[in-house]
């Protein structure tokens, strides 16, 4: 019989962690409880964050947003700050799991699970996300690209939780694009995903571009070289094709039961070609 603690405040949380230092922390449980059931993680005491209001919500600080870690995906999809200012993230969340999973799962959980296929991760990387880690001793923050080391591996330390994610708001006129490739249209592990934030001038020339790919390596792959190749020209098929070739060299996907490395590499570039349909939308 293991303990399941339900702290109501951060102070309660720190007490709980002190009393049960071996406990696993979860919010929605859609990753952790599945892993305990299938034996990847042994049964243990649990601390659930779902009742801590101080860990929920989105705070607007002008040029950046602070997304509190235990906010569920459904709550984020209902928040105008997310849907209006961070559509690249909203689109990723909208195709994550299922409505039921979105009612329970949280963005903090998705980041800490650090799956190479984590749906929110590519958007968070190009939003220059910083993760805030809290413990009873205080708070520290670091860029998400430093926080996530590899599949399932982060720099979180014992006694810490991921308390918030800070993201920069992109320029209001930037195009924010996200596409996920899965084996079906819901309840699908991402085989490949691409997040893009593109700024165009009035005549359709690319001013700035940020690109990131998920499920293409142990962590998110950003490929600035491909992004830079797009700058100074409209988003033509030819230009995107050149950039696609660069991306295919930059990604290091694996072959697993879901897809081959070859397929992933091919579509990593192909997803970039989709951007030429955006050119038509934006003009």
């Amino acid at each position: 019989m293991n303990h399941v603690l339900l702290p109501r405040s951060l102070n309660d949380l720190w007490s709980a962690i002190r009393d049960f230092p071996e406990a696993a922390v979860y919010a929605g449980g859609t990753d952790l409880l599945v892993k305990i059931r299938n034996g990847s993680i042994p049964p243990k005491d649990l601390i659930c964050l779902e009742r801590i209001e101080a860990l929920k919500g989105v705070v607007d600080h002008g040029d950046r947003l602070v997304i509190l870690a235990a906010t569920t995906f459904s709550q984020l999809l209902q928040d105008p700050a997310i849907t209006n200012r961070l559509p690249v993230l909203a689109k990723a969340i909208a195709c994550l799991g299922s409505p039921l999973i979105r009612n329970m799962g949280t963005i903090g959980g998705n980041v800490c699970t650090a799956s190479p296929a984590g749906d929110t991760l590519a958007p968070l990387y190009i939003l220059n996300a910083r993760v805030e880690l809290a413990s009873e001793n205080g708070v520290r923050s670091l860029p998400i690209s430093q926080f996530i080391l590899g599949p399932g591996l982060t720099l979180i330390e014992t006694g810490e939780i991921l308390s918030a994610i800070h993201v920069e708001k992109p320029h209001p006129e930037a195009i924010q694009h996200f596409e996920k490739v899965g084996r079906r249209n819901a309840l699908a592990c991402s085989l490949a995903s691409m997040a893009a934030i593109i700024r165009l001038t009035d005549d359709g020339t690319v001013l700035a571009a940020s690109l990131a790919w998920g499920s293409m390596g142990p962590t998110v792959i950003t490929c600035p070289e491909a992004a830079n190749r797009l700058i100074g020209q409209p988003l033509s098929l030819d230009r995107l094709t050149e950039a696609a070739a660069i991306v295919r060299k930059a990604v290091c996907p694996i072959t697993d039961i879901r897809a081959t490395a070859d397929y992933r590499r091919t579509i990593a570039g192909n997803l970039l070609l989709r951007l030429c349909t955006l050119q038509m939308e934006s003009s």
């Binding site: 019989m1 293991n2 303990h3 399941v4 603690l5 339900l6 929605g28 449980g29 859609t30 409880l33 599945v34 059931r37 299938n38 049964p43 649990l46 659930c48 779902e50 459904s74 799991g97 299922s98 409505p99 039921l100 999973i101 009612n103 329970m104 249209n185 819901a186 309840l187």
Partner: protein
């Protein structure tokens, strides 16, 4: 360990291990077998219950998480002699075949029509996308929720 919550409108005290799955508490301890288990891993939706009105997967909830919550299971939606309009629509539209996925589908539909009384087929499909059904091909389930929306809309309007 003792947990106090409300289930289908009734104050309920639950005794037992804190890490017992809610689906087991409901089915085995409380005899509420309308909530089903199809996969145990959150992938099929058969174990769906409403927590404070929101659909959740009871196979991925620990008993401790029931504390102070207002829970609705399929038994709280209607009875064979007094069905909810959504359930009536399921019956009439032929949306029930083997029936194992049905309770979960109904609960998500209840939540959907509460939030979006005029949900169209596309939105209905999306709302039900976490529920696997192996018998119906989903079409008549979507028909049923659409029909229920129409019927309930007529009731609300004066």
């Amino acid at each position: 360990m003792s947990i106090n919550c409300k289930i289908n409108g009734k104050n309920t005290e639950i005794r037992g291990p804190a890490d017992r799955r809610v689906v087991d508490v409901l089915r085995e301890d409380l005899g509420l077998t309308g909530t089903k288990e199809g996969c145990g891993a959150g992938e099929c939706g058969a174990c769906t219950i409403l927590v404070e009105g929101e659909p959740r997967l009871s196979c991925l909830m620990m008993a401790a998480q029931l504390q102070d919550q207002d829970i609705t299971t399929i038994e709280g939606i209607g009875e064979p002699e007094a069905l909810h309009p959504i359930q009536e629509a399921f019956v009439e539209q032929g949306a029930v075949q083997c029936g194992f996925c049905t309770p979960g589908m109904v609960l998500s539909a209840v939540h959907l029509l509460n939030c979006y009384p005029e949900a169209d087929r596309s939105r209905i499909r999306r709302a039900l996308s976490g529920h696997l059904c192996r018998c119906t091909g989903y079409v008549k389930i979507v028909d049923a929720v659409e029909a229920a929306a129409r019927a309930m809309g007529k009731e609300i309007k004066p």
